[in-house]
Symmetry: C2
Subunit: 493 residues, 2 copies
Amino acid sequence: MTDRAGASLYEHLYRCIRTDIEAGIITEGEKLPSKRSLAKHLGVSLITVEGAYSQLIAEGYLRAEQRRGYFANLPVLLPIVDFTRGNHLRSRDAVEEAERKTREIVTPLAITAASSLIDLRTGNASPELFPFKLWTRTIRSVLAHESERTLLADVPTAGVFRLREALAAYLHGLRGMNVEPEQIIIGAGAQYLYGLLVQLLGRQHTYAIETPGYPRLAKIYRANDVDVVFIPLDEQGASVNALRASAAGVVHLMPSHQFPTGLITPISRRYELLTWANERNNRYIVEDDYDCEFRFAGMPIPTLQGIDSNERVIYVNTFTKSLGAAFRVGYLVLPWHLVKRFEEQLGFYSNTVSALDQLVLAHFIESGDYERHVNRLRTMQRLLRDELIAALRISAISKRIWIEHEDAGLHFILHIDSQYSAKDLQAAFLREGLDVCPLSCYELAAKPASVSPQTRIPSVATLQDRRFTLCYGGLRREQIGSVVSAMERAVLR
Amino acid sequence: MTDRAGASLYEHLYRCIRTDIEAGIITEGEKLPSKRSLAKHLGVSLITVEGAYSQLIAEGYLRAEQRRGYFANLPVLLPIVDFTRGNHLRSRDAVEEAERKTREIVTPLAITAASSLIDLRTGNASPELFPFKLWTRTIRSVLAHESERTLLADVPTAGVFRLREALAAYLHGLRGMNVEPEQIIIGAGAQYLYGLLVQLLGRQHTYAIETPGYPRLAKIYRANDVDVVFIPLDEQGASVNALRASAAGVVHLMPSHQFPTGLITPISRRYELLTWANERNNRYIVEDDYDCEFRFAGMPIPTLQGIDSNERVIYVNTFTKSLGAAFRVGYLVLPWHLVKRFEEQLGFYSNTVSALDQLVLAHFIESGDYERHVNRLRTMQRLLRDELIAALRISAISKRIWIEHEDAGLHFILHIDSQYSAKDLQAAFLREGLDVCPLSCYELAAKPASVSPQTRIPSVATLQDRRFTLCYGGLRREQIGSVVSAMERAVLR
């Protein structure tokens, strides 16, 4: 197992760094960590990192400078991110245009801002970020070029094979996952797929979810009539001790960027979680990778699915964070023995997504349009995050705040040093037009603390430390000023 | 209750007859049953029929001829069914064209026919019946005319309101149902909605389904981990005695055209079934109206939903029989107290159908295109049925067969008088290239006979009577000859 995992880890590391250089996450000329510090950071052997770096040097993605270290090379063949395609996207001109409009209609805007809440709670991407023209063009193209037979064919239970192929290739590129199309099950959104998973794995299991966590997850599992237990987080993610002490047979995790804490589970804990899954028969980990496309910095960590050599991990993802509500499509990646069980036990079901939607998505991914869209969106969301954080840092409350877990996903933790309670602050934010929740809103269990206080999420550890989950994914750039001044008024009242 | 039901019955009867005249199901000049015989047939009072007939005479849909009876008038305002729109539909020219092609390529066709099975088992509509051009035109029109905001808006849990409004109006016209859009829940197909229903009504119930019945229904309810019992049919539909003797709390019925028997439950039995539902708290009837759009003859019978005055009936339908696999859309019509419960208990779910699919369907229904398509499809399926039956009646096996329940839906029962067993005949059909199942394939329970033999489905009552469910909905006209000669070979071998 070590060898296999080691081999896939080296490959994965190589692929992740390459993808990051290509996507501009690691920029031209940026210095990479030393081999030793990266190996330590990831909890892998020095040989693994050496293998990956050598390969990248050989292929021209890295250059080694004597006594200075390793630096990224932007390959010449890189497609330039095209900001002018699609007027819904903020090209430089479009941004200026938007700013001009904002200045022009500043009074009505102010009224709107006061009368309608700014959403920092759900963080649903603003519809204006959706690649509308590209999408409608893809639909027209699919309708024009695909045969009636293809468009009207019965969809297999697991989904249109072409989309599953496109997803397998995409997951290989983005996440370094080695997945066959046959392992992928398409369904009408993650919520539907969780219900299907309960049917597949069985209701005899106790299902564990993280706390703090995503409240709707608990509702979904409960609506499916299974026993639900809550696993507290420590500074590395879900507590393996708590998991062992629980009756859980299946645990639903968000290891790559936990909601709402933003925690990224390091590789060592990932292996511990896999060990838990291997200790008994029929234990499973549901790996919920909901916002994996929005890693802005920091080294990649392989998915649990990628390092699982005993078929214990079920990977789940959707297009909600990247494409919003336009597509109701999610997918599972099943280990092989569950692929077989799925066919036998649930193969009688019809697929829940229309052939057209699946073909449109397949074309969108195959053409590279989807990846380009995600790259653009990531850049924009990073800019948004940078500007929001910069504005907070020069604000009147800069000495009262502390930001954490801002390098991935579309939310970060804002610590506020305040004499007011978190609830009190939340109410004040609401009065100022901000819809934002303290971390405590996401505590799913009455008594989550079965681990000692020292091992819980690190905080600035004062009695006045109030933590908020700031979901900025739906924010518009021109709203940043309003957000920061509303926060100032609420905190400094 | 009697008054309310009586009033809605009169209205319903009026509306159904009017719709049938408009749709050409009752043709110009066709004689209607006498008031007395219709009242007897439907099990309603003479006054109800008199009210409906008077209204129809007043509006010009019927004319009364002294001592001769009542005759249908085709109103002048009727939109003429346009067979030339959409080349996929068989206009007279298109039929001739197809027949010409069939003659031209008779040899390759014969090879194809021999090497691939003719489907008389699932009866899925042939994709060539799908209104492909109309559909793509509607998608293009929705993309061009609806705002980005509308197309990308979050869909409410119950679905896009506009589609729910369109469906409410459509159900009023087609089925005489008085339903508010708020009662309608849109979901990714009926199978998904059954799972949602189990979550809504609860797993403590025992769910009853009809036997013979739809085998996938049993699988779906079992995959959702509920106790399933089977209710045998007598000559009127689901046996109320068997239902009373069972532990069922929820019963899933197909009263308007049962699959696979084709039975139509008369009004008197419908009231008995409602009485069963009213005898205890929390009993529900799921009314599965899957092929209601394909009634070819006979008087309309109101839906259970339409005559239910105690909120016991949940109506379910899809577009599978009318639009095939292109749309993965089904809907529930909930009684009001369940609308409330749905919001409270399951309102956290995201809807499973994309906004675009829902808007396209809404436009399709609103424009009348959907109704025109269904009317065309019904006419074509009726022609198909007529030709198939006519071909069987002049075949070499005409003296050995007997056809039943052919006036609704897309299947009928073919009785075959044979020395071979049903299984043996099925195997012989298969060897001849026909995929068709005997009724016994759909027996879902090992011992369904808790009712006495006299009250079971009427048959020609010989030991040699073999019954087959013939689903002709997916048949192409040019295949009829092959079907009949294959049957001749199998039966007369």
